[in-house]
């Protein structure tokens, strides 16, 4: 069966069309069209929706709602999403960023999904017509997810509480060896009061580094202070092996890069 595209004005109609066998939602197409070009014949119908809310960014009251069709370039250039610009610019080269959407990034298998790592550290929620789902739950169940993602929403981090690091071999554009995002809150004396750390490439999809997070609470961001967190960084990870790096290498360098992120 040849590949065919169907476009719907509403998300509702797109959702109905996605019930058919062999269909897949089309975001920017950087993964799904690529797969078809490479001979993946499992998808025969692409579905998309042009509902305007999918392409809007709304920031109000310290919260952001980003439509699923918003591209990495649009995020990187948005004046109120400055804290996330670094994570958005970490995705691909300029042309990819003009195409790659937020919605698609949630489904991107490792080594991709750098922006989703940032969203996981922000504890975002993922919106569908069925309601909002915490991103961690969404990521865990994404393989079976058929509904159109309409948006991601999150509380905007304060500039100094959010950190993002992508490690790649080729600069300025390269596929991740790993990526790390951290949302940290510190008390006035510099003690960590809350920490969310998300890792990319340390499993087939973005994951939280819970043990490291726990080990940071009550500690200061000094070499000694973060040592227990670094020691626990690899807990529960199962890094991928691909042409960029082996699982062994990723596991070895994770604490080094987490250390750099925390001490930066």
């Amino acid at each position: 069966m040849a590949l065919a595209l169907q476009t719907f004005a509403t998300v509702k109609d797109a959702n109905a069309a996605l019930k058919a066998q062999g269909t897949r939602y089309l975001g920017g197409g950087t993964l799904v069209v690529r797969a078809a070009n490479e001979g993946d014949v499992s998808v025969s119908g692409l579905i998309r929706s042009t509902e305007p809310s999918l392409s809007t960014i709304a920031v109000a009251g310290g919260k952001a709602r980003v439509g699923a069709s918003v591209t990495m370039a649009a995020i990187a250039g948005h004046p109120e999403l400055g804290t996330l610009a670094k994570a958005a610019r970490a995705v691909g080269g300029p042309a990819i960023r003009n195409m790659a959407t937020v919605g698609g990034n949630l489904f991107a298998p490792a080594p991709y999904g750098d922006f989703a790592v940032a969203l996981l550290a922000l504890d975002a929620t993922v919106g569908t017509d069925g309601g909002e789902t915490p991103i961690e739950t969404f990521l865990a169940n994404r393989d079976g997810s058929r509904a159109v993602v309409t948006s991601v929403s999150f509380t905007l981090p304060k500039a100094d509480s959010f950190r993002f690091l992508k490690v790649s071999r080729v600069k300025p554009k390269g596929v991740s060896v790993l990526s790390i995002a951290g949302a940290l809150e510190l008390s006035s004396d510099g003690t960590v009061t809350s920490a969310r750390i998300a890792l990319g490439c340390m499993a087939d999809r973005p994951m939280r580094a819970r043990a490291a997070e726990k080990a940071l609470i009550g500690r200061k961001l000094t070499a000694d202070g973060i040592a227990p967190a670094l020691a626990a960084a690899g807990d529960g990870t199962s890094p991928i092996t691909d042409p960029i790096a082996s699982a062994w290498y990723r596991a070895e360098v994770l604490p080094v890069h987490l250390g750099r992120l925390l001490l930066a």
Binding site: M1, L3, V41
Partner: protein, 455 residues
């Protein structure tokens, strides 16, 4: 650009009009305007797309091939297997009498590397060809495979290629190419120091930006025009003529515009089967490697292993050098027997050494067949030789550049393979490098010349 005229001033003519002058490239205007016609820029109405079903195993016997379902797939026009190829077993260098024929155009009874072509599917669209290819059923009996050259040379190793009968190329000189010069054992016996080291490399893919491929159009009079990005136009034409048992006059090859080759487009891989498809269907055919095929299927530079044993004197003279080189051809010869032979000629490097012993082996393994790439047979050897030179200099406590001046070949020096040196310029290159890198050497070396009057 600066042309240094102080070198060889007394032996060089200075009435050069072109050398040293920048000249525009004749092909650039086409490149920058997008008008250059690469092979894939030719399109013909009714063109068929060829997709290859490839071996998922490194080494396996083919029990059976079932194309019945694929043939029924909508859009499929023709499916080709080994029996459709008039002269299915070939080898590229047979044109220069480097046999035996050892490679199948489409696998017949056996596959010897993961990715080997087994069945060709021709369909109206690329998608239909892909879908049908997925429906071809091949029943394999997996055989033990060997991936390491030294393992392959051991007795009892799985036999990779029956057309050779052993896991190395049999030269007229025997199991390897040999160079014997002076008495290497006597040289070692008289040396102040001996250093033996081994060096090895992995296969390297050329990764040209344009993938390998061709577009074939039947001309209607039993002649076929093949637009191709081969780097070896006449090798390809002549081998196609043998494989298809068609006189060369029926084959019209158009090429010369190559979107990056680096040696990776010298094998005769896509053209014969695409022309066969055009012949049997009467339709234009394109066979263009996907990026994945380019990376995984097209031949890489061979993996090599080089063992170098040197005898050196405290004063810096290398008095004996023994080199054993191994070239991993993968499952088929392609250009590797020639690459290994080039290695034999190239050692012992650009140095004059009185006692030399060289053995270079072309070894078969169940890896992707390797072939040409920028100085194949030489480049990896140079890496090994020059690292060895640094180690030798360190061993005797000498400056590594001065050490090379002492051993550099000059006009008239006899090379190990019995060709007297002519037109050498190594000394001058090193003098220039010494200046450019601000790495001074003793004045006597700066006063040397490669040019020896009367040599």
């Amino acid at each position: 650009m600066e042309l240094r005229k102080n070198y060889f001033a007394d032996v060089r003519k200075d009435d050069l009009n072109e050398i040293g002058q920048p000249r525009p490239r004749s092909d650039s205007p086409g490149h920058v305007t997008g008008k250059t016609a690469f092979f894939a820029d030719r399109n013909f109405p009714g063109i068929l797309h060829l997709k290859m079903v490839r071996s998922p195993h490194h080494h396996a016997r083919i029990r059976s091939i079932d194309t019945s379902e694929a043939e029924k797939h909508p859009g499929v026009v023709k499916i080709l297997t080994a029996k459709d190829v008039p002269h299915n077993v070939y080898t590229i260098l047979i044109l220069i009498q480097v046999g035996p024929e050892d490679e199948t155009v489409l696998a017949d009874g056996k596959v010897r590397w993961k990715g080997e072509a087994v069945v060709a599917v021709l369909a109206e669209t690329e998608r239909a060809a892909q879908e049908a290819a997925a429906k071809v059923k091949v029943d394999y009996e997996v055989l033990p495979a060997v991936f390491d050259m030294e393992e392959a040379l051991k007795p009892g190793a799985p036999l990779v290629n029956e057309y050779h009968g052993q896991n190395y190329y049999l030269y007229d000189s025997g199991e390897c190419r040999k160079v014997r010069f002076g008495d290497v054992e006597a040289g070692f016996a008289g040396a102040d120091h001996i250093l033996e080291e081994s060096y090895q490399s992995s296969p390297i893919e050329h990764a040209p930006t344009e993938t390998t491929g061709c577009v074939v159009a039947p001309e209607g009079n039993d002649r076929f025009t093949c637009y191709t990005n081969t780097q070896a136009m006449f090798f390809t034409l002549d081998n196609t003529s043998i494989i298809l048992q068609m006189p060369g006059s029926k084959l019209h090859f158009v090429g010369g515009t190559v979107g990056g080759g680096f040696g990776g487009k010298v094998d005769v891989i896509v053209e014969p089967i695409a022309i066969l498809g055009a012949k049997l269907t009467g339709r234009p055919v394109c066979f263009i490697y996907s990026r994945e095929e380019e990376m995984q299927i097209s031949s890489p530079r061979a993996a090599e292993k080089v063992v170098i044993k040197d005898g050196v004197m405290k004063d810096g003279r290398i008095v004996a050098r023994k080199v054993t080189g191994y070239t991993d051809a993968g499952a088929y010869s392609r250009h590797s027997p020639y690459g290994a032979q080039k290695g034999a000629g190239h050692y012992p490097g650009p140095y004059t050494i009185p006692n030399v012993w060289i053995d270079t082996y072309c070894v078969y393994t169940n890896r992707t067949p390797s072939s040409a790439m920028r100085g194949f047979g030489v480049t990896i050897g140079d890496f090994a030789l020059e690292v060895q030179m640094d180690k030798l200099a360190r061993l005797i406590g000498m400056d590594p550049l001065e050490f090379r001046f002492i051993n550099a070949y000059r006009d008239g020096d006899m090379k190990a393979h019995r060709q007297p040196t002519e037109g050498a310029a190594l000394i001058e290159c090193m003098q220039e490098a010494s200046r450019a890198a601000n790495w001074p050497v003793a004045e006597k070396y700066m006063a040397m010349s490669s040019y020896v009057k009367g040599a």
